[in-house]
Amino acid sequence: MKRFIGFIKKEFYHIFRDTRSLFILFGMPIAQILLFGFAITNEINNVDIAILDHSKDATTQEIINKISASKYFTIDQLITRESDIEEAFQKGKIKAVLNFEKDFSKNLIKERQATLQIITDATDPNTANTITNYINSILKNYEQSKNKNIKLDYQVVSETRMVYNPELKSVFTFVPGVMTIILMLVSAMMTSISITREKELGTMEILLVSPITPFQVIIGKVVPYIFLSVINAAVIVLLSIFVFNMPVQGSLFLLGAESVLFIITSLALGILISTISETQQTAMMISLMGLMLPVILLSGFIFPISSMPEPLQIISHIIPAKWFIIIIKGIMLKGVDLSFLWKESLILISMTVLFIGLSIKKYKIRLE
């Protein structure tokens, strides 16, 4: 046991004396969470739009007023001809043009129908979509307020309610993703690098010749990173609660326990990577290409899994991060307990066991 403590102490010296490790460990999580929280966002605010009003009557004016009153849109310019639309877009400032047809009010009364064309700049499809949705809901709102006075035989009104994240804050979906990336990176990449570093420097050989067992070496390598990853997870959760007002609906204890589980899964993956790579560079490349990319692209962090083609959906199942994101979203946003998450937890546990098993097998072959 005393040997073991000495070993862990040595690991901490390595970590705290290497500014690069320190930066990855503590600088990156904070930078990432702030970046994703503040800069990268799906929400729209004060989007500049242009109006092309062919009828200029009371109804169109009311609608325009309603739109400009919302905090989402700012009316940047009024254009008068169809041919000006192209130019307005090309200047790049406006993101949408509302084109009211001629005789808007008259048509609405006479034919009970009038047309408003929404033209959006789809060079950024997500924003274009969001703009269209927002304008539609403003129109719907207007329609309903008008119809209040008119008695219709029947009317279907669809009412949309966004549950778990009613304000559609994008930071709420980014926090679980960023937390997953950070834990994966710190645990898997840092351990695999620190183990291969000993191989590269020749100190691993010295350790293998000493009475300390390979098992103790690996555990000694892993313990400091469990400790640091837990601190990281706590920092991320605290930042998301106090800086971004993200709720934690479920139990903090369960969140902690699941995070530790995922940390151990990542560490097991890190150990596996270190058994197949001889140099620090290899370990880093495998971690970055083999772990980071799938985590970002296939875990459902940025792109929804349900809209991926079938083969990618199948691949996404073998990515541990996918299951962890489901778990933390469940706990933080939906407030569910273990009875809803046991399947995901069990998958992570099995993956961990598999990674450790493979590492042991790989390690034995090397020793023969």
Binding site: L201, G202, I206, I212
Partner: protein, 242 residues
């Protein structure tokens, strides 16, 4: 195992698939002896040494190191040997003292013992003024000497040195060999591989490996006589070229 033998190998063999890296080597090393283990690159020295220090299982043959079997008692072997590899192998980002503490610790020395050894070692090497500096900032020669001393911390019966003087200047090499003589005089057995033939002359006995076999084993004096040459370099060339 005879009383004075600390290493005994009998037909020790290691194969990797079809390739025989070490081909039935047999030899003994006596207590307090400086045993030179020579051979060209790829002759099988490192593989043979790995089997003796317990990190590689032999394919066949027998061997005992410090009285323990290389198949079943590797843990006991590890407690009784010291090892220094051709790659410098202390931690660069730890200070001299921290390295000594760490390696003393993993060999299970008591705190008092480590303290005593630390003082002794720092005095002997004259390291007082740099004891709290990172090892990475020391010149290679000092690192090497320090590394050797660290491999002797737990007072092993045998110390295995794998090309310990690679890349250091002749003066440091000389000092290094003085350290080797000193610990041999204190009863530690030295098992050393080297490519420097002048170093082979310093050894009590020398074995020369060619293609996995030990082709010659005797004192440097007898080897020179046997091959009718006047230095070890020529002995080596005659053997290695076949």
């Amino acid at each position: 195992m005879k009383e004075e033998n600390v290493i005994e190998a009998q037909g020790l063999t290691k194969t990797f698939g079809d390739f025989t890296a070490v081909n039935a080597i047999s030899f003994e090393v006596k207590k307090g002896e400086i045993f030179g283990f020579l051979g060209a690159n790829g002759a099988g020295k490192t593989t043979a040494m790995k089997m003796l220090i317990g990190i590689s299982k032999p394919s066949s043959g027998e061997a005992k190191v410090a009285g323990f079997d290389v198949y079943s008692q590797t843990e006991s072997i590890k407690k009784n040997i010291g090892y220094m590899s051709q790659k410098f192998a202390l931690y660069d980002d730890l200070t001299v003292k921290e390295n000594i503490n760490f390696f003393g610790g993993i060999y299970g020395l008591s705190r008092a013992k480590i303290k005593e050894k630390m003082k002794q070692l720092i005095d002997e090497l004259g390291l007082e003024h740099i004891a709290d500096q990172l090892v990475g900032s020391l010149p290679l020669g000092w690192k090497q000497k320090l590394s050797f001393s660290v491999s002797l911390l737990h007072e092993p019966k045998i110390v295995f040195l794998d090309e310990p003087t690679g890349g250091v200047d002749p003066i440091t090499r000389r000092q290094f060999w003085e350290m080797i003589y000193k610990s041999a005089n204190e009863g530690t057995t030295i098992f050393v591989t080297t490519h420097y033939m002048d170093e082979a002359e310093y050894c009590d006995r020398v074995s020369i490996m060619v293609d996995g076999r030990i082709d010659a084993l005797d004192t440097p004096k007898m080897l020179k006589k046997q091959f009718k040459v006047d230095n070890m370099n020529d002995v080596f060339l005659k053997l290695a070229r076949g």
